[in-house]
Symmetry: C2
Subunit: 505 residues, 2 copies
Amino acid sequence: MAKKQRTAITPTRAEDYPQWYLNVIKAADLAENSEVRGCMVIKPWGYTIWENIQRELDEMFKDTGHVNAYFPLFIPKEYFEKEAQHVEGFAKECAIVTHTRLEDDGKGGLKVAGELTEPYIVRPTSETIIGASFAKWVNSYRDLPLLINQWANVVRWELRTRLFLRTTEFLWQEGHTVHATSEEAFEETYKMLGVYAEFAEKFLAIPVIKGEKTEGERFPGALNTFCIEAMMQDRKSLQSGTSHFLGQNFSRASNIRYLSKDGVEELAWTTSWGVSTRLVGALIMSHSDDDGLVLPPRVASAHIAIIPIYRNEEEHQQVLEYIAKITDALDNLRYHERKIRYRVDDRDLTGSDRSWQWIKKGMPIRLEIGPRDIAKNAVFMGRRDSQNKTALGWKDFTEKVCDILDEIQTNIYNKALAYREEHTRIINSKEKFYKFFTPKNQAKPEIHGGFVYAHWNGDSAIEAQIKEDLKVAIICIPLEGDKEPGRCIFTGEPSPRRVIFAKKY
Amino acid sequence: MAKKQRTAITPTRAEDYPQWYLNVIKAADLAENSEVRGCMVIKPWGYTIWENIQRELDEMFKDTGHVNAYFPLFIPKEYFEKEAQHVEGFAKECAIVTHTRLEDDGKGGLKVAGELTEPYIVRPTSETIIGASFAKWVNSYRDLPLLINQWANVVRWELRTRLFLRTTEFLWQEGHTVHATSEEAFEETYKMLGVYAEFAEKFLAIPVIKGEKTEGERFPGALNTFCIEAMMQDRKSLQSGTSHFLGQNFSRASNIRYLSKDGVEELAWTTSWGVSTRLVGALIMSHSDDDGLVLPPRVASAHIAIIPIYRNEEEHQQVLEYIAKITDALDNLRYHERKIRYRVDDRDLTGSDRSWQWIKKGMPIRLEIGPRDIAKNAVFMGRRDSQNKTALGWKDFTEKVCDILDEIQTNIYNKALAYREEHTRIINSKEKFYKFFTPKNQAKPEIHGGFVYAHWNGDSAIEAQIKEDLKVAIICIPLEGDKEPGRCIFTGEPSPRRVIFAKKY
């Protein structure tokens, strides 16, 4: 029997994937549950990832002509009553403010008081409240397009929550745009889906599939919902961003009208699109391994941990002086126009303990530096994306570090892409389909399944049946790739093209 | 009779200061009221100022060793019950979530449902919820100091609201730190007050006075509250940032304890400090004039408006090509490490109309460029901080633009400082004090008063009497400047030093 290798995270992915996920978060000190139902505390190492995501995405939004604004946290109940599907989709899970005062309850505690005549809903999404402003801002075709983004917190009273993936409160951005024509609004919906896909692949190192949601999975009130979908290491799909073509539904509900060039009053066309702190969950589940978090450098909380190794105070000072030369050089570098983020970890712990902590935290590069390295003008480098450790000259290191970071970024992406490709199938029969998605051991289901491209007749009853039988959903109708028609593998009826099936979050 | 000069904003500051303030906001398109009680919508031109404030302050926080994190929006009611003064200070004005579902009310509308057993308070400030996390994070002296900041929205159910200055929901940052000793916590409280003062003066171009609040004006639960105070153009003081030394009150309430080097369990010492979107209000009221907003370049939404002037399409194209050369040059410049933010305003409006819009929006520099400027390789420049317009070579302009922006920044600061100095008095008698703060015309009080340095015996009854008589408060006990003792001008009793009196926001 092969000796089982010890890993920093137990259970491993293969042993218990959901628990592994939570343990990676804990070991990397990314976030924790709070005493507030379903709400998480995002700790500094995790929040920094979100800050980096924000900074990069914000730049992409601005480069595509969008500006930021801020709208109220609270939405009057009546706004929800204006768009029927929308309220149906969100009313079941919201936080409602009904009172405005706490008073002494006469028993040493506090009771609520100051009841509102009309309650407010804590925004689960902001189409209706932003629509109320847009109705005032838009008068003529000259005011269009209106391209607004908001960075905000939103609240959905979810029953089952999970750190980063699904929490009662989460952080996100929501883009809201208004256009004169259906075509322009559609173009915007696509464009922002493209921005999300580019961001996911280039910064998060997550390969994604751009697709359209089926009717049942649409955003409540949208005409079309587009998404980017990514395969996690348990082969489930995680919806990582959505872009909605809202048609005239919300402009009708909010009364967003403009005077056209011809002097005719027209209903406007709107879109909305969003990504959230769920992206941090996507990043964790895409790249981490049984030793903990693996961070892609472009959004990593930090790039380099520098660990001084010494036996006495004299050596300690020598090592710190030597490190100062290296950090001075790093301070002058720019990695894709950003500063190199390093941490000198001079804590009173063994070199091995410190090194393992940074491995678990996903630090792309570790440098261990002791007297022997000084003697050789070298650094001893460990990389998170491989097991190898290398000695190289310190000047050599500072000259190459940006290339090394890019190489790590590419490796991480390629690894995720290879994993997805390995677990993607084209399946042409119902039998093979059911077999592919059925675990071998029902008692303790192992990681199984993957992405399946299969023909489907477009019937939502079939979609529902598969979901009931296998917990498998149509994650999207892919926008790119093969578009040849065929026969539905469940009914034999005509299918315009293959769609993608998978288990999903 | 002198001919009255026309201004872009009516009423002027002298005519009706509060209305002038609202009209400046409207003319500059900074923000508007929403239908949600007391909540504002921050429009793009206003939000960009806040983004710039965030970016610069965030860098200063990080340079002083702080990291960002995120804590829940909701606070369990019981957390408020732990710190008596704190609940007293905030319980009267809070939004309370009591339900989690909307249901069909059978009359075509919606009713609230899903009542919570224990209600949640929407955070008015986060000491208690952050304290609950800190209690878990802090175990040993090795975990200290803990230096955390949060950028967030908070809600206080204010009765009287005013755009940016006092709104039900507002955006802010709240720093929360934990220390092993009282001295260290005090040092942190001072340090962050210093960061705020430096930021206000260097970036917002607002001269501020650092001081300590009197007992009655302290943050509920704090041992000492320090503040920066700025004089607005109606000579009232606006508290623009606060830093609180919380002693052990909140660590006791939240049970934040650590094991000292000597192995003894100790209660920790905490601080908190914050600034909010109120700073945008401070900026507006400090610098704007009767033609609208005046933006200090370091936080300006944009730096330069470029206005093409032409008579026909041929000239139009020539002008746009010429402008492209200038913007290419601007793209390569950095103003204090940031990109130069410019707008080419090619709207189909007269040059004068466009120019006035940018004046009202506070744009530091306007360039009007037409065929005659091209012939001379020149640009025609208007500055917001003066009435003068100058022609200069376009290369000359791009070489000097950063210096010009700095000069504008300095001018704006100096003007505000001169105004404050002009309206600051040392007063040594009660009679003169009362006269100084009494308007000449009670029916339509003109802008009057200012900052008064006067001796006070420290009695809060006297403080209350002055507030009742004159609506004048002790804005702070200044930390810097003259500290000679004297006699209280109201009672003749000893006074350790002069304090500052003013009307305030």
